[in-house]
C-alpha cells in the first residue's frame, strides 16, 4: 500500500471546492471503491459578545501535526476497511463560509468509509497541534479552543 508514507496535509488559505471536486474525480479509476465519506469543516460566523467572527487565522506546529496526522491515518487503516484516506487542513486566513478541513475516506463498503471519516475527524480535533485566531469584524480577535478536548497527557 502506498498510503503509508507521510502526505502533505496543509493548504495555504481556504480549501477550494475545485480541489474537493478534483479529489472525487481522481478516485473514479479506483473501481474497488464502493463508498466515499467526506467531511468538510467550514468557518462559522460565531457571534461572541455582540461581535461576529469574519475569519479564522490558522497556524500549526507543522512538523508535529504532520506526524500526528500520519499516526491517525495509520490507525484508521488498521482499524477500518479502507482503500484510501486523505486529510487536508488550512493554514493562514480562512473566511467564514470557506472550507478549512477536508477529510475524504474511501472503502469498498459504506461502514468503513463512514466510521473511518468520523474517527479521523475526532482525532484531528483532539490530537493535532493546530491553533486558530478568530478574527472579528472590528479587527479584534480571540483564540479558538476546541470543545470536549480529550487531553492525552502521558
Amino acid at each position: 500500500m502506498n498510503n503509508k508514507k507521510t502526505k502533505k496535509v496543509f493548504v495555504q488559505g481556504a480549501i477550494s471546492p475545485e480541489k474537493i471536486a478534483d479529489s472525487i474525480a481522481s478516485h473514479q479509476s479506483k473501481t474497488e471503491i464502493g463508498a466515499h465519506s467526506i467531511f468538510l469543516g467550514q468557518v462559522r460566523a460565531d457571534l461572541v459578545d455582540g461581535k461576529t467572527v469574519k475569519a479564522i487565522d490558522y497556524s500549526a506546529y507543522e512538523e508535529m501535526a504532520e506526524k500526528e496526522i500520519h499516526k491517525i491515518r495509520e490507525a484508521a487503516f488498521s482499524k477500518f476497511e479502507l482503500t484510501c484516506a486523505h486529510i487536508y487542513h488550512s493554514l493562514g486566513k480562512v473566511s467564514t463560509g470557506q472550507v478549512c478541513l477536508f477529510i475524504f475516506t474511501s472503502s469498498p463498503h459504506r461502514k468503513g468509509a463512514n466510521d473511518a471519516c468520523q474517527n479521523i475527524l475526532e482525532a484531528v480535533k483532539t490530537s493535532v497541534p493546530i491553533f486558530g485566531k478568530e478574527l472579528f469584524e472590528d479587527e479584534s480577535y480571540q483564540w479558538k479552543k476546541n470543545e470536549d478536548i480529550v487531553r492525552n497527557r502521558t
Binding site: 506546529y61 493546530i130 491553533f131 486558530g132 483564540w143 497527557r153 502521558t154
Partner: protein, 79 residues
C-alpha cells in the same frame, strides 16, 4: 546544555517570539521544572491548558536533555 524552545498560538503572542534557544543551568532539567521556569520568565498565566511536546511528543514528565526541542502548545483549534 542548550534547548530549542518553540511557542505557538496565544503563548507565542504572550512571549513575543516563536522560538528561542535556552541554556539550561542551575539544574533545571525536569519537564515540570522547565515549564515553571518558562511560565515565570514570561509571566504566563494559563498553565492548566498548556501542553508540552518534547521532540514532538506530548509529555508532562521526564527529563529534558541537551538538543531537545520543547514546544509550548495552547489548546488545539483544528477543524
Amino acid at each position: 546544555m542548550e534547548i530549542k524552545v518553540k511557542y505557538f498560538g496565544s503563548i507565542a503572542e504572550e512571549t513575543g517570539k516563536a522560538e528561542e534557544t535556552i541554556s539550561l543551568q542551575n539544574g533545571i532539567s525536569e519537564v515540570q521544572e522547565f515549564i515553571a521556569f518558562i511560565f515565570k520568565k514570561y509571566g504566563l498565566s494559563d498553565e492548566g491548558t498548556v501542553q508540552i511536546a518534547v521532540n514532538q511528543v506530548i509529555q508532562s514528565e521526564g527529563r529534558i536533555q541537551y538538543g531537545d526541542e520543547v514546544a509550548f502548545l495552547p489548546p488545539y483549534a483544528g477543524g
